[in-house]
Every structure is written in structure tokens, then in C-alpha cells.
């Protein structure tokens, strides 16, 4: 008989699933996410996994985590620290000990707190038996043992049984938060369609976990998080990389262009390649090249031949693509270069987030080679910014660098599904009229040249990386011509600012403190500014998506505040860029280089200090 337990309604809650990288924590977290999304919660998620595929089992280096923040209020970040931690082994507990709220609930798989596993995690004694976690609500669940017990008659081998224990943990958490299990059952039936015994086993284990939580006295109450007050419409859950790929697909369809992706696998950008590779049905051509350079070069070749061309990468790949990008700038061909930033320099922190490629995106090429630079700022708006990147590149015939980051790319949130017809129209700038063709003849207003695609009669011409003569595009070493061409290439980018919307401000339009961010830091910056506004502080948030060119009203915004703080996950690249563009304005900085996003609490502390001075 089901016990009656007090159900407590929560505004929001942060849950973290952590275990060995082979424990299936990403899948467990994703299932909890999908179920919560279907219940109408607003949410944000973030997976945190090691760079190694299978780091030594049981060690802190091998811990894989998945954090989810759900709420019935507006959720903008995956949460600073967890209210509930599921730790599948001692290493998972150790890795997350500073990321769990004081007094929070920790569910541990007690079967793994053996001498051997404790040693692997670097514990001499069990942290559960000293005072390390005093004041926390520790639930010691014998997950391994009960999973084995649950499946002893399933006919599955020991290894397969062992692999099901994440479902036991998921069952416990489903009970804690009053979630139905149908969504996960449906998922399991589909995923293991050819192995009904595996489906049955996983469902049974999940139910046993659920019932275990219901039975034990350790859990004082179960919680519920009601539906968020989201706007009417049809929603789905999207990850940043997926949304970005879909934005490109939508742009290709609206532009009536074939989409071509030339790419080389790299963390954390590969999922864009994977997503686009699935959609050959929509006419997408994906080319997994032999290296990063061939990725961008094949894309430029396809662009020359008329495709909407994309290349995707992360930090080290951006370095390799520099020369190719310079050629696309010189040849004035459309190209979207997506850089999903990660920690650097060099190989750096492949699975962690950072915003330290900004200067490279803006200036990391030989010669004066200006590129349009855009940045997406939430997982869902990766769709919109990918679309805009494609629109700008096709209409202006100049490459666009789109900056995302590991946190956005792997993060997920509900997305109110857009229709491609809601997106602005795209008019590729191609010469389709009969008559003479001058490759470098420009539109007077935008300075963009027109393309002529191979296969078009009478418009044969040669492009190349050597300096071009204005209008004809012939090779030219003339001193004056080179200067004119350098000016035109720069001016052409600046003129895009005539066409983009004005920069928006969240919060106070004038006041004591302007918080400036760009790209993926929007979630924590917005949440923090909202909190301060509730306390009647005169603060505003200015989150940039257009980096080059900057929106035209930027200078006006800066004048309206007593203090300005530029917050970024690097040591001040955007702050310096602003200093260069707006000399005389004083920009203070708040920077973090830990591979993790800002927490709202650290931001709030810093902003309050600034406001009190």
C-alpha cells in the first residue's frame, strides 16, 4: 500500500546526478529533464563530463555529472549549486562536495563505499562516518545490491544488471519529485526495441527504485515543482548545439540553398556535425574532412559553387582555420564559421566552458581581415543566431564567425517551437541577370559584391587570395588599390550595423550600474540582475550578441550609468575591445577562468560591492 507522504511545492530545485563516467549519468539526467519538460517546468541543464572517455573507474577524474534546474518560475541557468545530489560512488561525492547546498539531500549508493572505492576516490575513511557531511540529509541507498536483487530472475548477465543501477537512482528521484515514469518507459521501449528483456529489466529496476524511496523513512517528504508560467504555444526541449544546427537548416530552406558542412570532429562542437549529418533528407551535405583546415576549405569551395556553407569547430580548430577564413574574407564569399568555445590555450579544457576565443575570432588572422562576429546567449537562441549568421553571410557575401560555448552547446532548455516562416527572409546576393559580370563591383549601400556561380554562362571569373583590383577583381599589386581595398573590407563590415537592431537593455535603462556581458553568460547575469532589481537596485543588463559590428546605440547606452562592469569567462577580452571602441569610458571587469559558468551568488556579491562604493 502506498504511504501518504507530505508533498511540498517548490518554486525551483537543482538536482545533480553524478557517478562514474560509465554509470549512465548523462542518460539518467536527460530522462529526468525530458519528464520535467513534459510536465511544463521551465528548466536548464548542463552535463559535466570528463575529457577522457573512460577515465580510471572510481576516481574523481572519471566522475561524470548532469545538473538540472527545474522551476515553475523563469529558469535561466542550470543552477549554482545542487539541492539534491545523487552520488553513485565516493568519487562522485568528493567531486561535488563543494557544489551541494548546505543542508541539502545527498543520495549515495552505499554499496560503493567500500575500502577499495574509498581509496580510489582518495578517501582514507568514509566521509559519511566522520563529520564531513554533518547537517546534510544523507540517504544511504544500497543501489547495487537492490538492483541485483531486483533482476536476479531476469536472465540478464551480471554486467547488464550492473548497468541498470542508474534506473534505480532515477526511480528514487522520480518519487522524490512526484514525477510520472511513462516518459522514460516509452524511451526505454524505443531505445532497446530489439531487446525486450533489457526494456523489462530497466523498467522494473526504475519502479523498484521508486517504491524503495516511497517505503524508506529517510525521505521526509516528496516535492513537486508545478508547471512554469510559460507563454502559450508548443514547446520542446533543445540543446544548444542541436538548436544551432536547426537554425542553419531553417536558413538554408528559407534561402533556397543547399546546406554544406565541412567539419572535423572536436569537442564540444561535434554534435552539430552529428545533427546535420542525420538530415540528408533535407538536402544537407556533410563532409567529415581529414582535418580542420580541410573542413573550412571544403566549405569555402562549396560556397564558391553556391551552397550555404558552414564549418564548425572549437578553440584549437579555430586556430587552424585562420588562413582559410582569411581567404574567404579576401574572396568575399559567404561562410559561417561556428566556434563552440572551450577552455584554452592549446588543448586546454576540452569539456569545460570559456569565452577566451573572442580576440581570435575578431583578429586572429594575418593582415587586416575583418569578419562579422556574432554570439548566441542561450541554448535555445542558438537557433536564432545561427539563422542570423546565415542571413548576414549570404546577403553580404562575407564570412560570419558565430561564437557559442561548451556550456550553451551542451546545455538544454525548453524552446517554444518557431516556424521557419516566422524568421526574416533571406535574399542571397547572387548575380542571376544576363550581361557582363564584374566580380568586385559593389552595392553602393552595403558595399557587398555579387557572386556568380560556376555553371553560369558568360560570367566566368577567377577568385583568389592575392589582392584584388577594385571592381574587376584582377590581381593587383598597386599600392593605392590595396589601401582602398583594405578600407572597403572594413567599411563593408561596419555598414552591417545600419541594418541590425539596436542593443536592448534588461532592467533599468539608466542608473548606478550597467552589467555588460556577451554570449553565453546571459543566464547567470540576467538572474543576478533580476534579483538586484527586486531589491530596488538601479541596475541594467546589456548582453551583446552582435560583437562586430557593435549595435549603433552602444555608446549612448554606456553614458546612462554611473558604473560599468564587463563580466566574461576570460581575463577581459570584451572589456578591452570596448575600451578600444569607446575610449574615455571606464569599464571595470569581473572575470572567471575556471571552466565553469558564473554563479549568481558570486555575481551578486560582486555587484553589491560595486554598488555600495
Amino acid at each position: 500500500m502506498e504511504k501518504t507522504t507530505k508533498v511540498v511545492d517548490l518554486e525551483k530545485v537543482v538536482i545533480k546526478f553524478a557517478g562514474d563516467s560509465g554509470d549512465g549519468m548523462q542518460l539518467t539526467g536527460t530522462q529526468f529533464t525530458d519528464t520535467s519538460a513534459l510536465l511544463g517546468n521551465d528548466l536548464a541543464t548542463f552535463p559535466d563530463y570528463p575529457a577522457e572517455i573512460r577515465a580510471p573507474q572510481g576516481t574523481v577524474a572519471g566522475v561524470s555529472g548532469f545538473q538540472i534546474h527545474i522551476g515553475r518560475i523563469d529558469i535561466n541557468t542550470p543552477g549554482d549549486i545542487a539541492d539534491v545530489l545523487v552520488a553513485m560512488n565516493p568519487a562522485a561525492l568528493k567531486a561535488n562536495k563543494n557544489w551541494i547546498k548546505k543542508g541539502g539531500t545527498i543520495i549515495v549508493n552505499i554499496d560503493t563505499f567500500t575500502k577499495r572505492d574509498l581509496e580510489k576516490a582518495g578517501y582514507e575513511n568514509s566521509p559519511l562516518e566522520d563529520n564531513s557531511f554533518e547537517g546534510y540529509n544523507i540517504i544511504e541507498a544500497p543501489i547495487t545490491k537492490l538492483t541485483r536483487e531486483s533482476l536476479k530472475n531476469s536472465g540478464l548477465d551480471g554486467k547488464s544488471i550492473g548497468r541498470s543501477k542508474n534506473m534505480f537512482a532515477l526511480g528514487i528521484v522520480y518519487w522524490m519529485f512526484n514525477r510520472p515514469m511513462e516518459q522514460t518507459e516509452k524511451f526505454l521501449k524505443k531505445k532497446f526495441a530489439k531487446k525486450p528483456e533489457v526494456v523489462a529489466a530497466n523498467i522494473k529496476v526504475m519502479h523498484d527504485g521508486y517504491n524503495f524511496a516511497n517505503t524508506i523513512e529517510a525521505l521526509p517528504s516528496s516535492y513537486t515543482v508545478l508547471s512554469a508560467n510559460l507563454k502559450d504555444g508548443t514547446y520542446r526541449n533543445v540543446m544548444g548545439n542541436q538548436a544551432l544546427a536547426w537554425g542553419l537548416l531553417a536558413a538554408a530552406e528559407r534561402a533556397n540553398k543547399e546546406l554544406f558542412l565541412g567539419s572535423y570532429p572536436i569537442t564540444p562542437a561535434s554534435d552539430i556535425l552529428h545533427e546535420l549529418a542525420k538530415h540528408k533528407n533535407l538536402g544537407v551535405k556533410t563532409f567529415q574532412a581529414e582535418d580542420e583546415i580541410a573542413g573550412i576549405c571544403s566549405a569555402i569551395g562549396a560556397s564558391f559553387a553556391g551552397s550555404l556553407s558552414i564549418t564548425t569547430t572549437s578553440g584549437p580548430g579555430l586556430s587552424l582555420k585562420g588562413e582559410g577564413l582569411g581567404l574567404a574574407i579576401m574572396a568575399e564569399l559567404p561562410l559561417v564559421l561556428v566556434n563552440v568555445q572551450r577552455g584554452g590555450p592549446s588543448t586546454g579544457l576540452p569539456t569545460k566552458t570559456e569565452q577566451s576565443d573572442l580576440m581570435q575570432a575578431l583578429y586572429g588572422r594575418n593582415g587586416e581581415s575583418p569578419a562579422v562576429v556574432l554570439a548566441s546567449s542561450t541554448p535555445a537562441n542558438c537557433f536564432d543566431w545561427a539563422y542570423m549568421a546565415a542571413k548576414i553571410t549570404l546577403e553580404h557575401n562575407t564570412p560570419v564567425v558565430l561564437l557559442s560555448d561548451g556550456h550553451l552547446g551542451n546545455g538544454a532548455e525548453p524552446w517554444k517551437i518557431k516556424s521557419t516562416m516566422d524568421m526574416p527572409e533571406i535574399n542571397p546576393n547572387v548575380d542571376t541577370e544576363k550581361g557582363e559580370y564584374q566580380p568586385y563591383l559593389r552595392d553602393e549601400k552595403t558595399l557587398a559584391r555579387k557572386l556568380a556561380l560556376p555553371g553560369t554562362k558568360g560570367k566566368e571569373h577567377r577568385l583568389g587570395g592575392l589582392e584584388k583590383e577594385d571592381v574587376t577583381g584582377n590581381v593587383s599589386y598597386e599600392p593605392e588599390n590595396h589601401e582602398i581595398m583594405c578600407e572597403i573590407r572594413a567599411e563593408k563590415i561596419q555598414r552591417i550595423s545600419d541594418l541590425i537592431p539596436h542593443q536592448e537593455i534588461k532592467g533599468e535603462k539608466e542608473g548606478d550600474l550597467l552589467v555588460i556581458g556577451w554570449g553565453g553568460t546571459y543566464g547567470p547575469l540576467y538572474s543576478t540582475v533580476e534579483n538586484l532589481l527586486k531589491e530596488d537596485f538601479m541596475v541594467g543588463l546589456c548582453q551583446f550578441n552582435y560583437i562586430n559590428p557593435l549595435p549603433k546605440n552602444t555608446a549612448d547606452i554606456l553614458k546612462n550609468y554611473k558604473k560599468i562592469v564587463v563580466c566574461e569567462l576570460n581575463s577581459g577580452q570584451f572589456a578591452n575591445y570596448l575600451r578600444m571602441n569607446f575610449q574615455g569610458t571606464i569599464f571595470s571587469q569581473y572575470n572567471k577562468l575556471q571552466g565553469f559558468p558564473f554563479t549568481t551568488s558570486e555575481l551578486e556579491d560582486h555587484f553589491k560591492t560595486l554598488l555600495s562604493k
Binding site: 565541412g262 577567377r462 592575392l466
Partner: protein
């Protein structure tokens, strides 16, 4: 179809190679070969990297793209995949293709993308003024290795065959007739067609191929391979190639009981590349250099593979539009 002549393929740009450079002959041979192909002028695309040879596209009145050093195969791949109807020609040199661009070169051959690669091999860097290249003969003294190179040169044919190349031909820059014939056959071959052109650099590596091309020796130093024909060569047309054990050997018909029957007959279509590789490796003075189409085998092309997948997926797709994709999977609706 409009009848085209070599003039249609000549651009208005002044040709700026050194006087006496082998590149001029190649350019003229190409301008004469293209009208022989039943194709429209606007469907030809010339892609090059960096180097003397890579200026070639500027002199062709076709679509062209002078790209960056070593990467031309990647650009050419992108062009071909984006529009498979185009006839795509990559122009490259030994430095561009085999040093900085070695990776792209082998991968193009491995994939068998349907493009033609003209590799101008002069065994030297010309545009950077005379450094040794990956095909320079070992020991050659250059500005960048005044005491003689200690590098072993690449064997282009072995590299091509090792990369699963489906078409390999060789020609000398003094033989425009053979060039034209090979260019036409290269275009007709489905897959990556690699043509090595032994090209003389008059400034930095003059006479490096005279052991093959000199008038006094060429009849004995060149073997023209023709599919189905015996490998006979020499001033007297009485020399031939036989396989003796594991090795090739030059013999004279009529001596030591050798008859024409004993001479190897060329088979460019044989998929096993062993003999073709051995022939391609031959060099004077012991052997004549093999010229002509050494290997031309059928193998599925990369572009056809991609296109057929695309067609299959389009026909069997769950979604035909992006909107259908966006609305697929788990969604939920909120109504006020």
C-alpha cells in the same frame, strides 16, 4: 553544343611564368584539350593552391579559384560536392601537393572524388626561389640545404597507389600531344585522376629531367604505356620490359631468344596495382621512364556515394521540411 576553341579558354591576363618555363606548354595543351570534351565552358572550374603552377587558373578563361597553400584538394572537394555537374581541375606542384598539402592530397585519392589533379613536378620550390622539395633527388644542394639534402624523396606513384588512387598517368612537359590525350582521358575517368607532369624549372632546377627528355636519349629513356599493347621502346623499337622473377628487366627482342611474345602487355585496368607500381617506379639509366596512363581502374566515387545517400534519404524521409523536423519528437503544448 557550341563549338569551342583554345581561344575560348584563354583569359585576358598576361602570363607571367619565366621565359622557357615548362608551364607554358601545359597551359596551351589544356586550352586545346578542353574543346575536345563535350562540355560547356561555364562548367569547368580550375582550383589551385600556391606556387608557380598555381597561377594557372588566372590564365584560363573559366571559373577559377587560386586558394591557399596545399589545400586545393579540399576546395576542389567542396566545389564538386556542392555541384557534381562541374568538371573540376586541381592544379598543383610538388611542394603544394606533397609537402604542405600532403594530407589533403592522399585523402582526395583515398576518397576517389571525381576531380582531376595536375601535379607539376619540377622537384624544386620555384616561387620561394629554389629550396628543395619533397621530390628533390637526395643529395641535391639548394639554398635551404647547401650541404646537400638528406631527405629521401617521395615516389608520387607509390603515394598515389598507396592512397588507393584509381587513375595515375605521367607525361613530360615537352610532349603536348600526349598531355592533351591524357587530359581528355582523365576527365572521362570517374574518380580522382592524378597526372604527374615532369616539368622543367629553367631557373632553379634546370635540366633535372634531361635523362628522360633529352633528344639524344629520349627514345631509349621513355616507355609509352598503352592499354593492351606490348611494352616496346627504344630508338630501334626493339627493347622491351619483361618480368623476371620479382623484378622488371629490360630486354632486347631478338637477343637471347627473346621474342615479342615475351614482352609484358600493359593493363591499366588491372585492379591489383603491383605491376603498375613497379612500372611507374622505373627510371633511367637502368630503365626507361614509364609515360602515359599507368593505372585507370573503376572504383565508386565519393561524390556519387554522397549523392545516392542523399537521394535515398530524400525518398525515404520522415520529414520533407525543416518545420516538420522542429515539431518532431516530444513536444508539449501550453494553452492559457
Amino acid at each position: 553544343m557550341e563549338h569551342l576553341t583554345n581561344k575560348d579558354f584563354t583569359s585576358d591576363q598576361e602570363v607571367r611564368w619565366c621565359p622557357g618555363c615548362g608551364d607554358y606548354t601545359i597551359l596551351r595543351a589544356m586550352q586545346k584539350a578542353l574543346p575536345m570534351l563535350e562540355k560547356k565552358k561555364e562548367d569547368f572550374v580550375f582550383i589551385s593552391g600556391i606556387g608557380c603552377s598555381s597561377r594557372f587558373p588566372y590564365y584560363m578563361n573559366t571559373y577559377g579559384f587560386h586558394t591557399i597553400h596545399g589545400r586545393a584538394p579540399a576546395f576542389a572537394t567542396g566545389v564538386k560536392l556542392a555541384n557534381p555537374k562541374l568538371s573540376v581541375w586541381q592544379i598543383t606542384g610538388d611542394g603544394d601537393a606533397l609537402a604542405i598539402g600532403g594530407n589533403h592530397f592522399i585523402h582526395a585519392l583515398r576518397r576517389n572524388i571525381n576531380i582531376n589533379i595536375l601535379l607539376f613536378n619540377n622537384e624544386i620550390y620555384g616561387l620561394t626561389k629554389g629550396q628543395f622539395s619533397p621530390t628533390s633527388k637526395k643529395g641535391i644542394k639548394t639554398k635551404s640545404n647547401p650541404h646537400g639534402t638528406t631527405d629521401e624523396p617521395f615516389s608520387i606513384s607509390d603515394l598515389a597507389i598507396g592512397s588507393q588512387g584509381s587513375f595515375f598517368a605521367r607525361v613530360v612537359d615537352t610532349n603536348p600531344k600526349l598531355m592533351q590525350k591524357i587530359f581528355v582521358e582523365a576527365e572521362e575517368h570517374e574518380g580522382t585522376s592524378l597526372i604527374e607532369i615532369l616539368q622543367n624549372c629553367v631557373i632553379f632546377n634546370d635540366k633535372t629531367f634531361t635523362d628522360i627528355t633529352n633528344k639524344d636519349v629520349k627514345l631509349d629513356a621513355q616507355l609509352f604505356l598503352e592499354d593492351g599493347k606490348a611494352m616496346i621502346f627504344g630508338a630501334e623499337k626493339n627493347k622491351g620490359i619483361i618480368l623476371n622473377g620479382f623484378k622488371l628487366e629490360v630486354v632486347t627482342v631478338g637477343e637471347n631468344g627473346i621474342t615479342e611474345e615475351d614482352i609484358l602487355v600493359h593493363d591499366a585496368k588491372e585492379k591489383d596495382p603491383t605491376l603498375q607500381a613497379m612500372l611507374a617506379r622505373m627510371r633511367p639509366p637502368e630503365f626507361p621512364a614509364a609515360l602515359g596512363i599507368i593505372r585507370a581502374v573503376e572504383r565508386p566515387t565519393f561524390d556519387e556515394g554522397l549523392l545516392s545517400q542523399l537521394e535515398y534519404e530524400k525518398e525515404n524521409a520522415k520529414f520533407k521540411t525543416v518545420d516538420e523536423l522542429l515539431n518532431s519528437g516530444d513536444t508539449w503544448t501550453i494553452e492559457g
